[in-house]
Symmetry: C2
Subunit: 129 residues, 2 copies
């Protein structure tokens, strides 16, 4: 079963929903701080991510427009493998009530496709300073 979602770049307004998902497991509970308002460090980190051309933080929107999943894709240039950039996928989360419905798979498939598209364009870091 594959739940219908829309993937889009995360916005600053999504930070609370993303952090709530990051905190929603045994490890996350111990390392995140869910407060209202959220600690400024989360927004500072979002700004760094948003300004980094090699990082894409994506969210999955459910049918009602709420954020139900997230993923961060990092493109890392390097010399090995004939100078091929590497893609690093992290911080993949899906809302508790919507797990096992293929949302994580859709996020990861998007990341693989995006990494391959960037490789074809040869644009790792191309928009950096």
């Amino acid at each position: 079963m594959s739940t219908k979602i829309v993937l889009r770049p995360a916005q600053r307004e999504d930070v609370a929903a993303i952090v709530a998902m990051l905190a929603d497991d045994a490890l996350g509970r111990g390392r995140e701080r869910i407060e209202d308002p959220l600690p400024k460090s989360y927004y500072d980190a979002f700004d760094k991510v948003a300004h980094d051309p090699n990082i894409q933080l994506m969210v999955a929107e459910g049918g009602d427009g709420s954020v139900v999943g997230c993923l961060q894709l990092c493109i890392l240039p390097g010399l090995s493998s004939q100078g091929a950039s590497r893609a690093l996928i992290g911080d993949v989360r899906v809302s508790t009530t919507l797990r096992s419905q293929g949302i994580g798979e859709q996020l990861v498939r998007w990341a693989i496709g995006e990494a391959q598209a960037r490789h074809r364009r040869g644009d790792a870091n191309s928009s950096s300073c």
Copy 2:
């Protein structure tokens, strides 16, 4: 035993020495291309790395000024762990004849110290666009 080395940022002139080390193991032999001149893709990758404020490619110089080791440190901003940036160490290599003399350890200790120093400065990506 700890061999005396000097660590410094890699220069474009070091690319051939770095690639030679990357190619010098069972996996590397299959994925690198040691040609003269080296394929342009290695230099393109070096330029991307050199322009990325979140990536530091370092080399270890031996007593005679030759390049005897390398390491790439990537600083990755992200929301998890209260917005803490993560450090990723990769492409650590030491020349065949100088292994088991503590050069890799010195490279990795440098990377850990540098990541901690950047954390204290709070400067992950700070010099990006």
